[in-house]
Amino acid sequence: MFEFTKLMKFDVRVVVAEDILHEGDKAKALCSRELAEKLGVRNGDSIRLTRGDVSVCFEAEVSEFAEGVDIVIPSGYFAARLAGLENPKRFEAEVEKCDGADSI
């Protein structure tokens, strides 16, 4: 079946936060319930965050700890790929569904 949600893109608010549980070799991101419903994402699905010309694919986890913003990514290798100097903690990015998450 054709997944039309794969064609959807949204601008989202991203926060980079220390998160010992989710930082590791595989890129993981916490998604707010609101965004997950909008984008059609469930636990374990993959999302691509794009900021400027940099994209990173994350494994999504729907979490209450992302409520208030749209996405929380653990500080570390993958957050460093997306973060810029102007504000490495909070920034806006574009999100869409994708297949598979990045790993180191």
Partner: protein, 387 residues
């Protein structure tokens, strides 16, 4: 005396390691103390320290010395001397997270020791910080949960927790669920500062909960704002926050997760007058100067850090093709993903002995401990050898 954990700037000194088991440490501390250790290598092959140091000295030309926030004060001093002698640029993480708050707290002069707060403190206000992850034992050792001194009834009656954050973090959830807590979900941190200032004048601002915060502050003499990096990046200009702290007559303590960032900031302010400094050019380094500094160096000496995890890759990419030397105790992403010329394995700060400065400005003595890797040298010794 226990082992001092150097995983974050709580610098917990009650860690016990017995029969291979670690007691009292948080998840972050356990990860540090049991982390996979680095091996001394030259161009990919294992080598002894003397050979590695010799090769590193050959490569150290107009270097950028990077990191230093997780090593002892002695190592930071040795790195500073090395930077002066080689004309190096000295850069830590403070420009990206925490440095401005440390400077702000030093200028304001309203800090409080964690132990004093543990014994007397009532309202702890975490702003732009999520200690549940960044300083996992901060609430239980110093602020919200302890029964100590004048606060024997702990969080049930003798403490109040306020969390201000853009998201509902783990710490925010604790405040939200507790009857002695309050979570302020902020859109813009500046608006909360305005609301609190207005509430102090008896006026209403955007956040009506500001009046409750002030009411709780009036209940005790010792209250504190613990500002995290989210607070700085939310405000950028800390002038009004200074006014607020003065007006509410409360303490302000910067929360930095890097174990000895405070120590490095103190050293640099004393010796160079700024957080980061280029000894080759003889000028201070600001956030906007970082791309040029990374671009212009000829070699990089990483000390106790993992730049591929902690610096934006737009910056780290500028180091491509340069000679990289790593002095570290634990295996890092940096040493895994990029070609490193020299890796010098050192003893973990928790075992090596020395001094560190906690984020509230208190000096913590770290006693040297028997290690699982007795052949490893201390960071300070290696940096002295590189001079």
């Amino acid at each position: 005396m226990g082992v001092v954990c150097t995983a974050c700037s709580c610098l917990c000194d009650d860690i016990v390691i017995k029969d291979g088991k670690i007691y009292h440490a948080c998840r972050k501390g356990c990860m540090l103390l049991t982390g996979e250790r680095e091996k001394t290598r030259v161009e990919g092959g294992e080598a002894d320290v003397e050979k590695a140091v010799e090769r590193a000295r050959e490569l150290l030309k107009k270097p950028l010395i990077l990191g230093l926030d997780n090593v002892c004060c002695e190592a930071q001093k040795a790195a500073l001397k090395l930077a002066e002698e080689t004309g190096a640029a000295l850069v830590d993480h403070s420009l990206l997270s925490g440095g401005e708050l440390i400077m702000f707290a030093r200028e304001l002069g309203r800090e409080i020791e964690f132990e004093k707060f543990r014994d007397e403190g009532y309202l702890s206000f975490y702003w732009g910080a999520n200690p549940h992850n960044s300083l996992p034992r901060h609430l239980s050792r110093f602020t919200y949960y302890p029964r100590s001194g004048k606060r024997q009834r702990g969080y049930e009656e003798d403490r109040f927790l306020v969390v201000a954050d853009v998201r509902r973090s783990e710490t925010a959830k604790i405040a939200e669920k507790s009857k002695s807590g309050l979570f302020l979900k902020v859109e813009k941190d500046g608006e909360l500062v305005d609301s609190l200032l207005k509430a102090a004048e008896g006026k209403a601002g955007k956040y009506v909960e500001a009046a409750r915060v002030l009411k709780e502050i009036e209940k005790a003499e010792v209250n504190a704002i613990f500002g995290g990096s989210g607070l700085y990046w939310g405000l950028r200009d800390l002038t009004k926050l200074g006014e607020l702290v003065e007006k509410l007559d409360i303490s302000f303590v910067p929360l930095t997760s890097k174990a000895n960032m405070r120590g490095f900031a103190e050293l640099m302010m004393k010796k160079a007058g700024s957080l980061c400094y280029d000894f080759g050019e003889g000028r201070e380094i600001g956030l906007e100067d970082l791309p040029a500094v990374f671009e212009s160096c000829k070699s990089v000496l990483v000390v106790g850090a993992d730049p591929m995890r902690t610096f934006p890759h737009s910056l780290v990419e500028k180091l491509a093709g340069k000679d990289v030397i790593i002095v570290n105790s634990l295996k890092s992403v940096t040493s895994r993903v990029i070609d490193v010329e020299v890796v010098i394995a050192t003893e973990l700060s928790s075992f090596s002995g020395g001094r560190m400065i906690r984020s509230d400005g208190v000096e913590v003595e770290i006693s040297s401990q028997p290690s699982s890797q007795p052949e490893s040298l201390r960071d300070a010794e290696v940096l002295e050898m590189l001079r």
